[in-house]
Amino acid sequence: MISVSDVNLTFETNDGPVNALKNVSMEVNEGDFVSFIGPSGCGKTTLLRVIAALETPTEGRVTVNNMTPDEARKARQYGYVFQAAGLYPWRTVSGNIKLPLEIMGYSTSEKEDRTRKVIDLVELNGFEKKFPWQLSGGMQQRASIARALAFDANILLMDEPFGALDEIVRDRLNGELLNLWARTRKTICFVTHSIPEAVFLSTKIVVMSPRPGRITDIIESTLPKKRDLNIRDSREFIKIAQRVREGLKAGQSEDVF
């Protein structure tokens, strides 16, 4: 589905070149929920942006649905959810959800149908006519997810979507996201810096380290696909969280600085 092999990416900055990604290789299979976890500067967001064709790697090969990332972008193969909700404040919730549909030239009735469907999916009924600045942070992020789902791409790329929310709201949205994933059978790539969030959500966890940005561990989760928040107290969960923590620590000790 998504394959990344030997990708290097160097940014030219005023302070000289910065090695954002070094020899990064990984696979995402259809229906996977893959989390990228690591401290700031480890390249997790950059990797997601490479998959989305928002950045171009200096070296290496990336395919998305057997296309180059740029072809996949043009074929609208993925929906992207940004860190800040990035909703357009001059549009209502349903206006924001219709934005991609307008750009992609859907008919009026199709736009209405799809908007209603995804609003149901993220449970924002009754808020269609509200403007983003009238909603709480959690609701904004739900609207943002609905917008990414509206055109039914089979890949969902999410860049720390719940990073700015408090833990209670985040737990709830995590549960809802799992339900949504089970119902829609999307392939999800999810960037986070929270260990519990990564372990709770993922079927595969990619642990990354900074300077240069690289992968230190890839963990296939042994948790059942169907899970609820109580699973976080299970021995299995704690074991995986332990391994993630070790992967993060290993990255630190190899640090040349």
Binding site: A53, L54, Y80, G86, L99, I103
Partner: protein, 280 residues
């Protein structure tokens, strides 16, 4: 101390007292225009009483009643001047200048190399002294309103350009990236993202330029005009010591300026309701 001056002080202190009362009043339901209109009325009354009480020469400062009288008796002339200067000169120049600046801003946004050429040129044009350009434009475009329109174009072009360019530049990067993930075309991104997010800046430019256009059109008439227009009237009536007429023209300019500014601010409120600056 004559009675007029005593009245003057009574009204001053009275107005002061009432305004303090109103400002201390917690009731938010009082209409917002009460305080400013009360202030205006008190100023007018004090002006009237001071002019009569101190027997001020009407050439130095005519009483408001004298100005009002002159105004009501010269409505036909004031209307002709208003049309000549503000509608034909200022408004046409405002629309042309702001429109051209807006289109230039879009061109600069699309072709970045233009920025290095056109922004300094715009800056240069705005630095030209109006008193030098006005007589030259009169020679180029004739005595009538066309030369005033040209002056206004020169005055409003740069402020509008700078504001529009800045508005188009300051688009939130993640909103821009979002458009890229949809693989939206340049025009779609412009219409659905960049223009709406530039609107607060564009309206800033429009508001600044509205007063510039007014001043430019009036001052330009000092350097040659047909025998009508507000600038012409002001300069010729000053020569005849008919200061009440000058004040009447100033009054027209002030009212027209406020109304025009208010109209733009109203449209701004309707179209940029989503911007933090418009929310209470």
């Amino acid at each position: 101390m004559n009675t007029f001056l005593i009245l003057f002080f009574i009204i001053w202190l009275g107005g002061w007292w009432i305004n303090i009362k109103i400002s201390n009043h917690k009731d938010a339901n009082l209409p917002r225009f009460i305080v400013p209109s009360l202030f205006g009325i008190v100023i007018l009354l004090m002006w009237e009483l001071a002019v009569i009480g101190l027997q001020i020469n009407p050439i130095l400062l005519p009483a408001p009643s004298a100005i009002a009288l002159k105004f009501s008796r010269s409505l036909d002339i004031l209307w002709i001047d208003f049309v000549q200067t503000l509608v034909k000169g200022a408004l046409s120049g405002y629309i042309l200048g702001c429109g051209a600046a807006f289109l230039t801003a879009i061109a600069i946004d699309k072709f970045n190399f233009l920025k290095r050429g056109l922004l300094p040129l715009g800056n240069f044009i705005s630095a030209l002294p109006i008193v030098g350009m006005a007589p030259i434009f009169v020679m180029w475009f004739g005595f009538d309103w066309q030369s005033k329109c040209a002056i206004v174009v020169v005055m409003v072009y740069f402020p509008m350009l700078v504001n529009s360019v800045q508005g188009l530049e300051l688009v939130d990067p993640s909103r821009q990236d979002l458009m890229r993930t949809y693989s939206a075309s340049y025009t779609q991104t412009l219409i659905k993202l960049r223009l709406p997010s530039a609107l607060p800046f564009i309206f800033n430019g429009l508001k600044i330029c509205s007063t510039l256009a007014l001043i430019g059109a009036i001052v330009a008439e000092f350097f040659g005009s047909p025998i009508k227009g507000m600038g012409f009237r002001i300069s010729s009536e000053v020569g005849r010591f008919a200061l009440d007429m000058v004040w009447a023209e100033i009054f027209v300019a002030a009212i027209a300026g406020c109304l025009f500014y208010g109209l733009i601010a109203l449209i701004e409120k309707r179209t940029t309701f989503w911007h933090p600056s418009q929310q209470k």
